[in-house]
Amino acid sequence: MSEKEIGKGRTLTFEILKYTPSDPESKPHFATYRLEETPGMTLFIALNMIREEQDPDLSFDFVCRAGICGSCGMMVNGKPLLACRTLTKDYPKGVIRLMPMPAFELLKDLSVNTGRWMNGMSKRVESWIHRSKERDISVLEERVEPEIAERTFELDRCIECGICVASCATALMRHDFVGAVGLNRIARFYVDPHDERSDEDFYELIGDDNGIFGCMALMACEDHCPKKLPLQEKIAFMRRKMASIK
């Protein structure tokens, strides 16, 4: 393999937003870093190298490095992506601009507080099984047909990375909008046979312009979701169900 093929030697330019809102002295600006590209380099690797070698003050979030934990969502040249799954070789110009995801509370540089947002969303859509009877944990749960369980598991794959929210123009304009992650969560409990909530109960949670009717079907959530969740299909499904409430 030639040097060109493995990308060795290419100098990457990173323009990274630096800002600490809690520091009155801090002013938002782009800091520029240059780094030699290595084979298979991800943004996770690049950011760690920058922090180790050039700027120990640079803040960003990572946990799993494998697209599972949903911690490393950031705006990469304008698109919300998981940094751990983004390869530098996919940027032929070698210039990569990183910004924190909008819509979330900015902590520092690329670190945002998705946790607070997701916690609020979970409470808002009452993201837990609702049953009329208290469950006896000493006996086995009711059996569920595998294909029905599969439908629930499919939507449970959401990692709450916040990329659907950061990509959604509606969520950026209207901060009260429940977002695709919230609507997907509702759809997940809707298909779960353990949950006894009725259409009317779900309507109480998302039946307004901040909920399902606020979605303008821009499809940025569907197009950017790193887990390829069927958001287009499920949001339309919930809209049909909720719009039929009389």
Binding site: G78, P102, L172, M173, D209, M216, P230, E233
Partner: protein
């Protein structure tokens, strides 16, 4: 009293949410669907001029009720325009709820659309902008059709477009209404989906291509018709006001 409670607190006396948001969402989509389908038909019908003056004349008379009346009655057109105008106002009122209304909303939307590189997000700005401009442009057109329905015909329309300089308004309105309507139809599918659709992602790709193709075809058709009206209006400029009669001559004055 119930209205006071809901108005101030957002919940009914039973402690439930209003079903009005569901109704408004349905009405926005239904009114948009009616208007978009109407526009497709409208562009085809006005393009009858491409088949000749006689074809456009015959169609005009048809819409004045000759199928069920003894003689053409332009008031029939007025009545149809009144219905469309009403649906248009209803749709505008409902769709306005989604517009960016504050500067911050506009600014973040503009920045996002400029950087995200995402067609549907950009198209929504196009829809919001075209919708806003149509408040004015379409209202002028609809008001004219409402008040002078008798002045629709091969010469009357051409005179209006060329000599009365309505071509400027029509040229602007045409592309806005075509794009707004076709993107709107595409978005209706995305919003509501089809319950029995086995592959929604594939359907979306197909419908996106259908949307783009429809925009191109309707634009070619619409602007060709507009150019034809312009040509007829130019040739007829010295006889402004003269009305067309098929085959055997023309009638002086405003009324056939």
């Amino acid at each position: 009293m119930r209205d006071y409670i809901y108005g101030y607190f957002g919940i009914s006396v039973e402690g439930r949410r209003s079903s009005k948001p569901a109704l408004l969402d349905r009405l926005q989509s239904i009114s948009g669907l009616i208007l978009a389908l109407f526009i497709v038909g409208h562009i085809f019908f006005t393009s009858s001029i491409l088949l000749g003056k006689d074809a456009m004349y015959a169609e005009t008379k048809l819409f004045e009720g000759t199928a069920f009346l003894d003689k053409p009655q332009p008031i029939v057109v007025s009545f149809a325009v009144l219905i469309i105008f009403s649906i248009f106002i209803l749709h505008a009122a409902l769709a306005m709820r989604k517009f960016p209304v504050r500067y911050r909303e506009y600014r973040v939307l503009y920045t996002h659309a400029a950087t995200l590189s995402h067609l549907e997000t950009k198209l929504w700005i196009v829809q919001a902008l075209s919708g806003f401009l149509m408040f004015f442009l379409a209202s002028v057109h609809l008001y004219l059709m409402l008040t002078i329905p008798d002045k629709i015909g091969p010469y009357a329309s051409s005179d209006r477009i060329y000599s009365d300089r309505m071509w400027i308004l029509y040229a602007l309105l045409m592309i806005m209404v075509i794009v707004h309507a076709m993107v709107g139809l595409y978005r209706l599918y995305l919003k509501w989906g089809i319950a029995s659709d086995p592959n929604p992602r594939r359907s979306r790709k197909v419908l996106k291509m259908v949307m783009i193709t429809a925009i191109l075809l309707l634009s070619v058709l619409g602007y060709s018709a507009l150019a034809t009206y312009m040509r007829i209006g130019y040739e007829h400029r010295e006889s402004y006001g003269e009305r067309y009669l098929p085959g055997n001559g023309i009638v002086k004055g405003d009324m056939e």
